[in-house]
């Protein structure tokens, strides 16, 4: 390490960033194996229906996106003093409203696209089914994104950790895992 003279609490020292994040990332990647195990369990179904395989990264990515936007905004609002844990807090309501609007738009489009790509790659799932799977799991995910982001920012702030370092890894990982779990809960009902 080149960082030889750190000040008392240096938020930008390599050692501090690595020490804060490695245990967190390691723990979270072990948790991710839960959704990995679910994927492995459904390997045969996924290889048979390419449309569902297309949905996996989109589902995970979009959940992570929405979570990252929400967390990043809440953290900034926390520092600026406009955030407050209350259902009537305008900043909180605006964030939640936007997440639901975005989820409905995105997962509708995703359903149609995944159906088309799946068809091109030799799949046979009907449009209605792919769309239903995408929208139902997407909206469940939106609820989770909002609840988890608010909880993570609150906890991180109260425990005294910098929410910029902790909330995004925690919430995006949680939403990834839940995204796969929700997706396959819906798949096992619909397919």
């Amino acid at each position: 390490m080149t960082d030889s003279a750190p000040s008392a609490v240096d938020e930008w020292s390599i050692r501090r960033i690595v020490r804060t994040m490695i245990p967190l990332l390691a723990a979270l990647s072990v948790l991710q194996l839960v959704s990995g195990t679910v994927l492995e369990t459904y390997e045969a179904v996924l290889l048979r229906h390419p449309a569902l395989l297309v949905l996996v990264p989109v589902q995970i990515g979009t959940a992570g996106n929405l979570a990252a936007i929400t967390c990043s905004r809440l953290t900034t609002q926390l520092y600026l003093g406009t955030y407050e844990l209350s259902p009537s807090n305008p900043a909180l309501r605006a964030n939640a409203g936007a997440v639901f609007g975005l989820a409905a738009t995105v997962f509708g489009a995703v359903g149609i696209a995944a159906w088309g790509i799946g068809l091109a790659l030799g799949g046979s799932l009907a449009l209605g089914r792919v769309l239903l799977i995408s929208l139902v799991s997407g909206l469940c995910l939106a609820v989770l994104v909002v609840v988890a982001s608010v909880a993570a920012v609150e906890v991180s702030y109260r425990v005294g950790l910098n929410p910029d370092d902790t909330t995004i890894p925690v919430v995006t990982n949680l939403c990834d895992i839940a995204g796969v779990l929700i997706l396959f809960a819906v798949v096992s009902v619909v397919v």
Binding site: V18, L53, G61, G64, T76, G101, N173, D176
Partner: protein
């Protein structure tokens, strides 16, 4: 004003980036569902098992690099210039170390899980794939992230609204693609 946007404002600002990342996600999905990747999934034990952890780590490592740079810019303690600065260099080196360490860790834990459930698999193959994929994504993510954040910030874009989509988009498309490269590279060596 970051503190006073209505839901409609946030929606409008986020839709373009989310759409871009959606299209990229569909690309990632298409690579994942392609014949080549489906053959890999069927042949390499553990590939599907490590996929979510691998993709998520990209988000965790480089998302927090982005958030850190963004906060630094907002606080005025770093400047959006492409030159050697102790804070920026540290943040970059730390995220590279984090990315590589966790990639290898994931390979080992995946192998352990496979052994535990008696599914077989090769430690050399898994570690090799993750080192190749982890390294390629670190180089790409760090370069693009810094470029996007600095250039965006100079043009008045709030990095907080952009980091997430940029990170997940690139992370997923190139993550899946680099996995494919990793499998090919390890296959060529062994």
């Amino acid at each position: 004003m970051p503190g006073h946007d209505s839901a409609r404002d946030i929606y409008r600002q986020a839709v373009p980036v989310i759409t871009v990342s959606l299209i990229a996600g569909l690309f990632a999905g298409t690579i994942l569902a392609s014949d080549a990747m489906r053959a890999n999934i069927a042949e390499v034990p553990g590939l599907l098992l490590l996929l979510p952890a691998f993709l998520a780590t990209r988000g965790g490592v480089y998302g927090s690099l982005g958030a850190r740079l963004s906060t630094g810019l907002h606080q005025g303690i770093i400047e959006p210039r492409f030159r050697l600065d102790r804070r920026i260099t540290n943040a970059v080196v730390a995220s590279f170390l984090n990315g590589m360490t966790v990639s290898v860790f994931i390979a080992v834990v995946t192998y352990a899980t496979l052994v535990l459930f008696g599914d077989g698999g090769s430690l050399f193959q898994l570690v090799g794939v993750m080192v190749v994929a982890g390294f390629l994504s670190a180089v790409l993510m760090i370069t693009v992230l810094i470029a996007v954040i600095f250039l965006g910030y100079r043009r008045g874009l709030d990095p907080d609204n952009v980091i997430g989509p940029v990170v997940t988009t690139l992370g997923d498309v190139f993550g899946v693609f680099f996995l494919l490269v990793g499998v090919a590279a390890v296959g060529a060596v062994s």
